[in-house]
């Protein structure tokens, strides 16, 4: 009769011995507390808490350093003179005007826009049909084509940039605008194909079959059925290519001539010759580059996830 019962009450608990949950929870707040907290994890010990503190602390330290580094560039671009003090001596805007003239930024920005625009348009125009073929069609050599499309993403740009520049100079395209555009197309095209292929696979093939029944040829199928459905994917891929091409340094560096430099290459040359020009005007140029890049990153983040923006390959697929 005296069944063991972990309650703090006395004889009044006799009624709960047959396990009446309602009565037991009303009259025993301790058991009710235990029942409702059973879902929460065990309270972590002091070691786990200290470890979590260390990890978060290190991350925040890293982010603060990066943030302060960017802030240094910003402040220096507005400073009249700054040497070793926490804040500069004065503030001015004239470095921006000087950088605009010294580095011929109007020409550089125009070239950057031309290159980036052409790369985005060409990689989408060439990549979407290729992704369609990879997603829908079976043809001999499909695996080989897939390998050719994947390789430029695995190999870093420096390794294939030098042989590519050699070939471009041999055919006379080295240093020209089209040389830079073609060079930047190499990592962008596979990227578009990788992003678009799962998009196309998601579209019901019966839609295309239905269109063909009504007499549409492939071009009409593309224009009226596929492209409207693919617009979100094309937008995402285009924005990703845009952000990556603005920051793509090595390929443009190897293939550009003196008047076909993009902004990042011009910035490199400016920092490289840092003794010749005032660091404030270099930082003004860096600020212009940073604002442009961050603006497009912000726009792109509305449509894609940060991981897609950063990694060169598709995210690891979730097991389904």
């Amino acid at each position: 009769m005296n069944a063991p019962h972990k309650t703090t009450g006395g004889g009044a608990m006799a009624a709960t011995q047959n396990g009446d949950f309602m009565t037991s929870s009303l009259s025993n707040p301790a058991a009710a507390q235990k029942a409702s907290t059973r879902r929460k994890p065990r309270r972590e010990g002091p070691g786990a808490r200290a470890w979590r503190f260390v990890v978060w602390g290190a991350m925040i330290f890293f982010l603060i350093n990066v943030g302060l580094m960017i802030a240094t560039v910003t402040m220096n671009s507005f400073a009249t003179r700054w040497f070793g003090t926490p804040l500069p001596e004065g503030f001015t805007l004239h470095w921006y005007a000087q950088a605009w003239n010294d580095f011929q930024l109007a020409n550089v920005l125009w070239v950057t826009m031309e290159v980036v625009g052409a790369v985005v348009l060409l990689s989408v125009a060439l990549g979407v049909p290729a992704a369609y073929a990879l997603a829908r069609a079976q043809f001999p050599g499909k695996k080989l084509a897939l390998l050719v499309f994947l390789l430029p993403l695995m190999v870093p740009p420096v390794t294939y940039g030098i042989p590519m520049a050699t070939v471009l100079y041999k055919v006379g395209l080295g240093g020209t605008l089209w040389g830079v555009i073609l060079a930047n197309l190499v990592p962008s095209l596979p990227f578009v194909i990788l992003v678009m292929t799962p998009f196309i696979e998601q579209i019901d093939p019966n839609l295309e079959s239905a269109a063909r029944i009504f007499g549409a040829n492939t071009f009409k199928v593309f224009r009226h059925v596929l492209l409207p459905l693919l617009v979100p994917g094309i937008l995402a891929a285009g924005l990703l290519v845009l952000v990556r091409t603005i920051g793509m340094f090595e390929l443009t560096f190897f293939t550009a001539g003196p008047d076909t430099q993009t902004l990042v290459v011009a910035l490199y040359y400016a920092v490289f010759s840092t003794g010749v020009r005032a660091p404030q005007s270099i930082d003004a140029m860096a600020m212009i580059y940073m604002v442009i890049t961050l603006l497009w990153v912000l726009i792109a983040l509305q449509f894609v996830s940060p991981t897609q923006l950063v990694s060169r390959v598709k995210e690891a697929p979730r097991d389904e």
Partner: protein
Amino acid sequence: MSAVSMTPAPRFDGRGWLVSPALVCLIAMFVYPFAYGLFLSFQPMEQTSGIFANYARFFTDATLWPTVFITLKLAVPATLINVGASIPAAFALRRNSPATKFVTMLLVVPVTLGTVLIADGMLTYYGPNGWFPQALHALHLYSDEVRLTHNYWGVLISLVISGFPFAFLLILSYVTGIDPTLARAAGTLGAGPWQQFRLIYLPLLVPGLTMAACLSFVQAFSVFPSAVLLGVPAGATRVVSIAAYEAAFESYDYSLASCVAIVMGFVQLLIVAAMLGARRAFYSGPTTGGKG
């Protein structure tokens, strides 16, 4: 969503030709230059030397072969730091809270800004008169002159700044892909957090970790603007890409430059193959838990 098409596919699918413009472009701009470079590396500029003259020169010239070891000395620690620090960070942030989203968004910034801008920022911030040494001196943590730029440490720090977010985001996506009920099941059987990590998460994470380590290593090994701007390109941080660049654009010896690029690719391939081979020693199976 893979609905079966109602019309039967023809024997040779003409739509396959849609792949040809992109394929031709990539073959012309990527495959052909690679093959041409390989071919060119066996044709040294001096016509009288043998076909292996470039490679012999690479391994005997004191300005060329040490670059491989210098680059490894930079790339291996950078990869270890990036991947090693990403694992606990990804674990701490694996729940999809607003803090995770915010931190992830902030971490995208160094990667998209690129190594050139990071180098410019570091020269000012970590330079002898920047905020970092000023803070160190003000807090009396270090009284000597702080030398973090124009040496090995500057390049290493820049590799960590640009490489850590990349490794972190990749590993975060792998960590969130592991079913948490597996660890909870282990917890009900009495495993503590460290045991859960060591016996459940780590073996399941190894394929993803290897992939992230390979990609991080390849990215770190091909360091170029940071080594020039933040390091000592003629000495302590003379990396392989600098040697290739100088051969191509300062000596105009394209066959030697192709040879250096091929050696660079070969070393990367060796290390990646070694990492993938070492991964076989670990568990390799499904990473979802539960039934089946």
